[in-house]
Symmetry: C2
Subunit: 567 residues, 2 copies
């Protein structure tokens, strides 16, 4: 029906392949403890002109056409994806956290903003050519953009890193997040103004002033009156309309209309959806359920689609400028780490903490990439500079997690799921009594080179001391073993059930035999607590008892442990 | 950057307004116990040429352009929306339910398929003009389409109706669902073949045969080998990849690629995503969490966007043909209710049950609308027939819920939330002892015209018999009251807490004073069970105790009761 001259792949082949690659490489990145966005960008680069297009330009053009009906349809999907991603990013902002940690956060946030902003502006204004400014541009606007690009933070990356390290609710975490929020709010505001300046650069001073005033007014209104109205509206909708249909619809209506308002002002739609997210996320009445439903599908499906689509638009090898990239990275690292770190130190944080805050705020991640992409699309920057900013965004994000961990000397606790292995798994226990079961399961540890008889004796001795049957059909025979370096957990399943003398009188169907190093008492207690919580869910053991192999067992267990973690 | 001649509203204004109307009218439909899709379609008709376009064609063209970049972007979004909706519809199919109820379901399903199919085919083949066939069409293909349109069912509508009536897990529910699934699988298969026949009508018999074979092969493979592979894949992904990111990504990758495969065969993408949904939904390893995350955002955001967008394409007043609509509705009702009802009766169901099954299977809802829309887009039918099918789809769905309820003489239980009202709400109790609290709260019932002193006495008498403090900070003073017709529940909040002598020793912060009619013993027990379950959640009463007004209280309570309902 549409443009018969157009030869393009069917829509779902394009987005199916795009999501497949984004999903696969995102997972690979996570496997190496890196942010998924790194993998997703690489997926796009592989599918785009950099790799796939180099091998077969025709196929690329067919699968991901640059223009026409299919290209527009894909753009519609990625436009909604990015607006939803900014909604989620906005919801992660804890407006109240800024208020709580306002003194240090304000100083740190502004320090972390002004230093890179100043360095970026001075550099780009003094040497526009080296920074890749195009002829005929207003140098000041260009320098303003570079300054903003240097001072932005990646709230989602920072928040996730802090959560992974169990620091999100700590004082350090709160200060970092609050500083990042302040950073981002101001950064995006300045960027909105740049877009306005650039877009209407020819309409004269009065037009610029109007957009500027409208942008600031829109932001202020959304974060004050709008925030309170949204809170009231959300409460009303949740109380009187159907649930969750009414609430989910309301959240998305607010987001889209706020995005539309931003578009009407002349700034980018995503600024509106970000502000809507901040306002919505601040409401106490946005239930965890609503938040999770939106966050998960967006983070794991729509955001990957969007980030992978970026790589489709740029040829990284043809536009890679080593010198420019080094300059950008150097200013970015120096400006942010020094700016935030020193101000954090001055406001009373310890040396280590100040470095950690500096490094955390240095992560630019997804936010920088979106900023750069918009600037590229508007013609503010060229592809060379875009690639350099892309590399800088990824480099600063990669640097963040491992370095913060090392600086603070953290060893994040492992979940008990991570100690399980198909090597120590018995899908069907044949024994009938606890001691027999212990004997049967001890055999699983043969390959460790440990003394099996000794293990068996120690486990039985402990069992005699006091039975290890917990309630809800799980038993945890355990022992501290001399010479053991890492905990070992064997899983045994008994359909018939074994009487481990549990507190609630039920037979044990899932037997977790746990060996810990000699000094592993604390670890043991943590494992017990986690296991008890996991099996305290209705049907937990009946869900697991049907597992025919380790993958099935682990698959069901993952869901159970995740329920516990997020409640 | 795109076609400068195009003057269209910014993307987010278009979809924001579309979602706003779909959300509002969908909610309105629910308020009147009607399927939301009815409201969503009406929203589209109001925004489209039927109403808004009639008032201001230019504004319509600006807000929802029929062609160009914005139109394509919106089409991209609605294309993904409908594919996701069919995924969800497919996931609702319980493949195993068909196996369990296979005998009656097969007979009923095939009866409910063959009779309307036969009537539809005979009618349309004999009187093509009356049915709105266009000149120069293959009459047989057209009649085949009408036959299919008559025999399809609306699985999502039927499933939701049965769930609302608490019949989903009953024998009657299982048979109805199984019959509907069989119905839909065959119906969509035939439709896929029609699309193939029509699309390649000019390529000769060998091309037709090829598409036919590929369509059937694709369906069979997806429902046998594919289903098992997806189950294995899902298990593996959930066990070894990150959770829930890996799982959600996997589900969507499978869906999009299955849609792409359907497109490659030459049938519509949504057939692929429906089959993917059936295969995925059948896997025991698709966790409730994954299912809900996808289902809710799709059902309450993307599906409404899609259904509202339908109304944008059609002018219902200009294309409404009363005679045609009556014929279509008559054949649809007669064929389906007789076909399914009589075969259900013959297979041993009671009279009432058979009628209920017939009426339930008669609902065409969303599925019919999608089928008709595709046929319209392909040029198989004209707008007149499309409007008649649309009206028929809505009429059969509207008919379903109330009539099944009446035929089976059901009075679905009301949730305790539905008895609450801001007239009986006290945000801050001043009393300190249970008897004083009862006195204070009895005052709330003054406006009912009942004897307040008598209520107070009865409540206190009951309280003396045995204290009504449940655990977890809630107390339920209650009494059976002569002359009361409907239960009344008053809510009182005490920040300090009142000692209602609860089993766990905690003071009561939420006091629910319950009055039931004299014969309301069973009702009372049900209310207690529901209240206990609701407050058995961690932090339930601490979440509620901060409510400053009734809306805030109800808003928080809705989330708590929903948690309980779906677990």
């Amino acid at each position: 029906m549409h443009g018969s001259a157009e030869v393009a792949a069917p829509l779902f082949l394009s987005i199916g392949v795009l999501l497949l690659f984004a999903w696969g490489f995102g997972e690979l990145a996570r496997r190496f403890n890196q942010p998924a966005v790194l993998g997703e960008i690489i997926a796009g680069l592989i599918l785009g002109p950099t790799v796939f297009g180099y091998l077969s330009p025709d196929m690329l053009h067919w699968l991901f056409p640059a223009e026409g009906h299919t290209a527009s349809m894909i753009e519609g999907i990625t436009s909604v994806s990015i607006a939803l991603f900014l909604l989620v990013a906005g919801m992660e902002v804890e407006f109240s956290a800024i208020i709580k940690a306002r003194r240090i956060a304000a100083i740190t946030g502004i320090g972390g903003l002004l230093v890179p902003f100043g360095l970026g502006f001075a550099g780009a204004y003094a040497f526009p050519e080296q920074f890749g400014a195009t002829e005929g541009h207003y140098n000041a606007i260009f320098a303003l953009f570079i300054a903003t690009a240097m001072s932005i933070s990646a709230l989602p990356v920072i928040a996730r890193t802090l959560m992974d390290l169990n620091l999100y609710r700590s004082e350090l975490g709160m200060i970092t997040i609050a500083a990042a929020v302040l950073n981002d709010l101001i950064g995006w505001l300045v960027f909105a103004v740049i877009l306005a300046l650039f877009g209407i650069g020819h309409t004269g001073a009065s037009g610029i002033a109007a957009t500027l005033i409208m942008t600031i007014a829109f932001s202020v209104v959304m974060l004050t009156v709008g925030r309170r109205l949204i809170d009231k509206g959300l409460t009303w909708v949740q109380a009187y309309l159907s649930w969750p249909a009414g609430t989910l619809g309301f959240v998305l209506v607010v987001t889209f209309l706020s995005a539309a308002a931003a578009e009407a002002i002349g700034i980018h739609a995503i600024f509106g959806s970000f502000l809507a997210g901040v306002a919505l996320g601040d409401s106490k009445h946005l239930s965890e359920h609503t938040r999770k439903t939106i966050t998960q599908l967006v983070s794991f499906v729509f955001a990957p689609l969007f980030f992978a689509s970026i790589g489709l638009k740029v040829n990284i090898t043809a536009n890679f400028d080593l010198m420019l990239t080094i300059i950008i990275i150097a200013i970015a690292f120096a400006g942010k780490i020094l700016g935030s770190g020193i101000t954090a130190r001055l406001s009373g944080m310890s040396n280590r903490e100040s470095v950690a805050i500096g490094v955390a705020l240095n992560a630019r991640g997804a936010m920088e990439i979106i900023l750069a992409l918009l600037a590229l699309q508007m013609g503010i920057i060229n592809e060379r500079l875009f690639v350099s900013l892309l590399v800088m965004a990824l480099a600063t994000s990669l640097f963040c997690g491992p370095v913060v961990k090392r600086v603070l000397n953290l060893k994040p606790g492992k979940l008990f799921v991570s100690y399980l292995s198909d090597k120590y798994f018995l899908s069907s226990i044949t024994s009938r009594t606890p001691f027999e079961v212990i004997g049967e399961m001890s055999g699983l540890f043969a390959r460790t080179g440990l003394d099996i008889e000794m293990i068996k004796e120690t486990l039985i001795e402990r069992e005699k001391l006091m039975p290890t049957g917990l309630s809800n059909g799980v038993a945890v025979p355990h022992a501290r073993i001399k010479g053991l370096k890492q905990p070992l957990i064997a899983v045994g399943i008994s359909k018939g059930g074994i009487n481990f003398d549990s507190s609630d009188g039920t037979p044990a169907h899932i037997i977790l035999t746990i060996l810990v190093p000699e000094n592993g008492n604390e670890l043991l207690l943590n494992l017990f607590a986690e296991i008890a919580k996991t099996f305290n869910q209705p049907d937990a053991s009946s869900l697991l008892v049907d597992s025919k192999n380790f993958a099935q067992f682990l698959s069901s267990l993952k869901v159970l442990t995740e329920n516990v973690r997020t409640h």
